[in-house]
């Protein structure tokens, strides 16, 4: 099958494989805020459309819905809370991170009951847990546990990347301290072209598929998976492309969080910050303007 059109260079779903830059950058003006939550949409030539939404599960401490094209994932974070099973606690000075990955029965083309502890989901649970644990500052929450539940609502390739991105957004929403934003993106190599963010059709073509997770700001890799063989120089190109994608997602996630936090802040704030200026206690009528002394 032709995964990259020889004539036009378009991919199966109409994406162009050769552009790494986004088709349009972030709008300079803040995007319009909908009534209940702010939802940003972003289009890249290479990547599928991204959509992130926080606060989708009412009872959870933090929750997020993340979409990469047709892949749609929901994540809920509970905690930090008391350790439920004391036997699992290895080190009482650090928080215990647990993760559960599930695919909804209706998420794939053929509806089939998915057993809870099958090998695939156990493996992905472990991968997500390890990736998130690398960024969570567990030593700040002793004697507690953090539960991350991710469920795939619609699977169209790159579910583990989408799960990691959703989990990051949910953890940030829950106010859990993290070293950095973890984002993940996959890339493949088909028809001698490196392709970013494979969809289900491209994924099932059987070519190499590299999933990369990075700490966006620190530029560190926390996850790297590949189940096929690839020449070294090609691999470097593919990985480069995946990292590029991760960074684009990181920008997107940061923007989503910022708008959400700002809305909450502006609505709640009314005469609630006391701040000290040169030893005098000043009760500010409004949110205190932060006095920048440095160059902002």
């Amino acid at each position: 099958m032709e995964f990259v059109d020889a004539l036009t260079g378009f991919r199966v779903d109409g994406r162009r494989p050769n552009e790494v830059t986004p088709t349009f950058p972030f709008p300079t003006a803040p995007p319009r805020v909908t009534q209940s939550h702010s939802v940003l949409l972003l289009d890249f030539a290479q990547m599928r459309q991204l959509k992130g939404e926080v606060g989708v599960v009412a009872r959870a401490d933090g929750s997020a819905l993340f979409e990469m094209g047709n892949t749609r994932v929901i994540a809920a974070v509970y905690g930090p809370r008391e350790v439920q099973n004391k036997g699992q606690q290895v080190n009482s000075k650090e928080a215990l991170v647990r993760c559960e990955y599930r695919m909804a029965e209706f998420s794939t083309g053929d509806r089939r009951r998915k057993p809870k502890g099958d090998r695939r989901s156990t493996e992905i649970s472990l991968v997500i847990r390890q990736t998130m644990e690398a960024s969570i500052l567990t030593h700040l929450m002793p004697r507690s546990q953090i539960d991350i539940f991710v469920q795939v609502l619609q699977a169209d390739g790159g579910t583990r990347s989408a799960c990691i991105n959703a989990a990051t957004l949910a953890l940030a929403d829950a106010g859990i301290p993290m070293r950095d934003i973890v984002t993940s993106c996959s890339a493949g190599y088909l028809c001698s072209t490196p392709l970013l963010d494979l969809n289900y059709v491209e994924d099932s073509a059987g070519g190499p598929d590299v999933t990369v997770g990075i700490l966006a700001k620190m530029d560190k890799v926390t996850l790297l998976q590949m189940d096929a063989k690839l020449p070294m120089d090609t691999f470097e190109n593919v990985m480069e492309l995946a990292i590029e994608g991760c960074k684009a997602i990181a920008t997107y996630i940061r923007e989503t969080r910022k708008i959400n936090g700002l809305n909450m802040l502006k609505i709640a704030s009314h005469k609630w910050i006391t701040h000290r200026v040169k030893g005098l206690l000043v009760e500010d009528e409004w949110l205190c303007p932060v006095q920048w002394t440095g160059n902002s």
Partner: protein, 319 residues
């Protein structure tokens, strides 16, 4: 705002959006500069050696946020205060919690913290009010004081050496809360004040704004008579006498719904605001059960926007 899942009609949606937009525009521009997300660099002046507080870390000489929230600066200290997160106890906070377990000589309480709080039998006033050593008999009778699922009010005593959080209830005003409603709101909406217990005499209702975001709305209890009522209940007699009047129950529901509306909209909860909202529902003839309908949400948002605009105008006029 996030818990708001309403079915609004077109007009209501426009009105709510306008009100929320106004609220956002009323907030000072500095708010946007103070908001940070994970991995944002916090601009600081390197010359005045600053202290890095909670929610910050050092990366290649830069101060980087590890939380999403607001940057606060107190003299040299720079820290990030989170908005939506679990409760972070401070010594002396008044909290409301629910008993989840009775362990030897202690109760374990759920208080929306990252671990369960501990209330020792020894840091608790005995029902007979006598100061004495707690005996084994007292320990066996712990269930007569608090049972599982009881809602109680206490004060944060501090962290023990092993990192557990201890509470105390050494006053008449602390103890079991009965005949009322417990509401949970995000803790950032409750600000630490001098007064957390409020007796709303006009409604005959007690309102406790727990620092942990647990809010109690219940029938007024006269301090000092508490011991008497517990005795009554043990005998399980005089049910009619202990009956909460219908009027009071309605007031409790009205105030509780006011808290629900305000917290869903994301307004900082103060007694004044809660009373004002409840009063407004009375004056605009909104029934208790209709308070959680879309219309009242929109009205509340509009009223708050107007109130803040007036305040700002007054403040600017005074200058």
């Amino acid at each position: 705002m996030r818990d708001l899942h309403l079915s609004l009609n077109q007009t209501q949606r426009v009105r709510l959006e306008a009100a929320l937009h106004e609220l956002q525009s009323l907030a000072p521009a500095a708010a946007s500069a103070a908001a940070v997300t994970v991995a944002d660099t916090i601009p600081v002046n390197q010359e005045d050696n600053i202290l890095k507080g909670h929610g910050t870390s050092d990366q290649d000489g830069e101060v980087v946020a590890t939380l999403c929230g607001v940057v606060e600066r107190v003299n040299k200290l720079v820290y990030v205060r989170t908005l939506r997160a679990r409760y972070k106890p401070e010594v002396g906070d008044i909290i409301v919690g629910r008993v989840i377990e009775i362990a030897p000589k202690r109760w374990r309480l759920e208080i929306n913290f990252s671990q369960d709080a501990v209330l020792m039998l020894s840091s608790m006033n005995l029902p007979d009010g006598i100061q004495r050593r707690r005996t084994a008999v007292d320990e066996l009778n712990m269930r007569s004081i608090f049972e599982e699922n009881d809602v109680i009010c206490a004060e944060v005593r501090g962290f023990q050496h092993d990192g557990s959080l201890h509470l105390q209830a050494r006053s008449e005003k602390y103890g079991k809360l009965e005949r009322g409603q417990l509401l949970t709101v995000p803790p950032y909406l409750v600000k630490r004040k001098k007064q957390h217990f409020h007796h709303l005499a006009q409604y005959d209702v007690d309102l406790i704004l727990g620092c942990n975001g647990f809010i109690w709305v219940g029938e007024h209890v006269v301090v000092g008579e508490k011991t008497k009522t517990t005795e009554y209940q043990q005998k399980s007699s005089d049910d009619a006498e202990n009956f909460t009047p219908l009027e009071t129950r309605k007031h409790i529901c009205r105030l509780a719904n006011a808290v629900r509306v305000l917290s869903a909209l994301g307004f900082t909860l103060t007694v004044e605001l809660i009373i004002e909202t409840a009063e407004a529902s009375v004056s605009s003839n909104v029934e208790v059960n209709n308070m959680l309908g879309a219309e009242f949400y929109v009205q509340t948002a509009e009223r708050e926007a107007k109130r803040r605009a007036d305040l700002l105008r007054k403040k600017n006029g005074a200058r």
